[in-house]
Symmetry: C2
Subunit: 217 residues, 2 copies
C-alpha cells in the first residue's frame, strides 16, 4: 500500500527542505518505500477536510489504508517500526535510538524553533537583540552537549538511525546563523546526513515542488 | 527487574509534580510496576557519572538491567510498550496514540515551556510583558485546538493512554496562569487526569521527596 503524505504547495522556506515533510520523505527514501504527495495551500491546511487529518492544521500527514497520522516524529517512528533500516533490531539499542528521537524533538528542536520564530515575529521589536542573546545561549547549550557526545563519531549511537534523521533535520534549521560553525563536530555530522543518497532524493523531490509553484506564478 | 529512575533531591517546583520524573512515576503507577528512585543534587546531575546516563545532565533517567534511557517521552513510551494498559493493542489506534504523544511534547509543550522560561529568566527585562503576549498567543492557539478536539470527550482518542498522561503533565504547567480557565474542556481534561489513582500515588511520592528535603534544611 503506497502511503500518501501532505506537503506545502508553496513552501515558505523557498524549497530549502526545512518544512517537516522533508523528515517523512527522507525516512521513506531510506527504507525504499515509494509514496504519493498531496499538496496543500495555506487555506486548504485550515479547511475541515485537512483538520480531520491534522488537528493543528499543519503538514505533514500520513495516510496508509485506514491509518491516518500526524506529527512528523510519530510518522518517522511508524515508518521505522514498519520497515528495516531506520532502527536497530536489538531491543535495548532500539529503545536508545527512540530516546534520541525524542531528544531531537523535545530537547534540541524547541530552542532552535524559538530562534526561527524570533526571526519571523520579533524582528521589528526593540528587544529583538536581547531576546536573541537568550535564545542563542540555549541553543549553544544543546550544541555543546551534542558536540561532546558525538566527537568524531559518524552518528549518535552506532549506525545511522531515525534519531539521526530527525536530529539532522532539526540542526539544519541553523544554517545561515553561524551557530553550527562554532561546533565543527556537529557541523560535520549535519553534512554527513545531508550527503546521504536518500536525503538527496528527498531534498530534490521537495525542491521540485517549490520550483513548480514558482513557475505557476 | 525493578527499574531505577532519577529525580531531583530538592525539586525546584516545590513538590508540585512539575518535574519530568512525574511522567515516569505516573506511567509506572498506571501499569503497576514498582520502582526505585535515586535522588540527585544539582551538582550530581552535571557530574560525569550522571552525564553517562543523560547527556544533557537532567532528570529523569531510567535503568532496567542493561538498558539505560533518558528523555521522559521515550521512557514513558518504553514502559507503555513493555506493559499493558497505556497504549491500545489495535495497531492503528496504537500508532495514533503515539502521534498524540509526540503532539504533547513537540506541538504543545514548546510554547508552554517557553512561558516557564520567560517567567524565570526574562521577568526583569523591560520587554517581559511584550514577550509574554507573544508566548501566550502561541499557547492559546494550541489550547483552542485541543479544546475543539476534546469537546466533552474524556481522553484524546478513545480510552486513557500514554498520550493523555504526557498531555496532562504538559498542560499542568499552566496552573496559576489563568490560561486553562479560558478553555473549560481542557481544564476538565487536566482535572480528570489529576484525579486518577495512579496519578495521585505518583504525585504523593514526588511530594514526599520534596518534603523530606525541606526537613533536612
Amino acid at each position: 500500500m503506497k502511503p500518501v503524505i501532505t506537503a506545502f504547495e508553496a513552501s515558505p522556506d523557498g524549497g530549502q527542505g526545512l518544512a517537516r515533510d522533508m523528515r517523512v520523505r527522507w525516512a521513506l527514501e531510506e527504507v525504499g518505500q515509494s509514496y504519493d504527495v498531496r499538496l496543500l495551500s495555506f487555506a486548504a491546511m485550515k479547511a475541515p477536510a485537512h483538520l480531520r487529518l491534522h488537528p493543528f492544521g499543519q503538514i505533514p500527514t500520513y495516510e496508509e489504508g485506514d491509518l491516518q497520522l500526524f506529527e512528523s516524529g510519530a510518522i518517522v517512528l511508524h515508518i521505522a517500526q514498519k520497515h528495516r533500516g531506520l532502527l536497530p533490531t536489538e531491543e535495548n539499542a532500539r529503545a536508545r535510538a527512540i530516546a534520541w528521537m525524542f531528544a531531537a524533538l523535545n530537547s534540541v528542536e524547541p530552542p532552535i524553533f524559538d530562534h526561527d520564530i524570533a526571526m519571523i515575529i520579533d524582528q521589528d521589536k526593540s528587544w529583538h537583540h536581547d531576546r536573541m542573546v537568550v535564545v542563542e545561549g540555549r541553543i549553544r547549550d544543546r550544541l555543546r552537549v551534542l558536540s561532546h557526545h558525538l566527537g568524531d563519531a559518524d552518528w549518535l549511537d552506532g549506525g545511522f538511525s531515525a534519531a539521526d534523521l530527525l536530529m539532522v533535520t532539526v540542526l539544519r534549521m541553523l544554517h545561515g546563523t553561524g551557530l553550527l560553525d562554532e561546533f565543527p563536530f556537529v557541523a560535520r555530522y549535519v553534512a554527513r546526513g545531508e550527503a546521504r543518497p536518500a536525503y538527496l532524493r528527498a531534498f530534490d523531490a521537495q525542491r521540485a515542488v517549490f520550483l513548480a509553484s514558482q513557475r505557476q506564478k
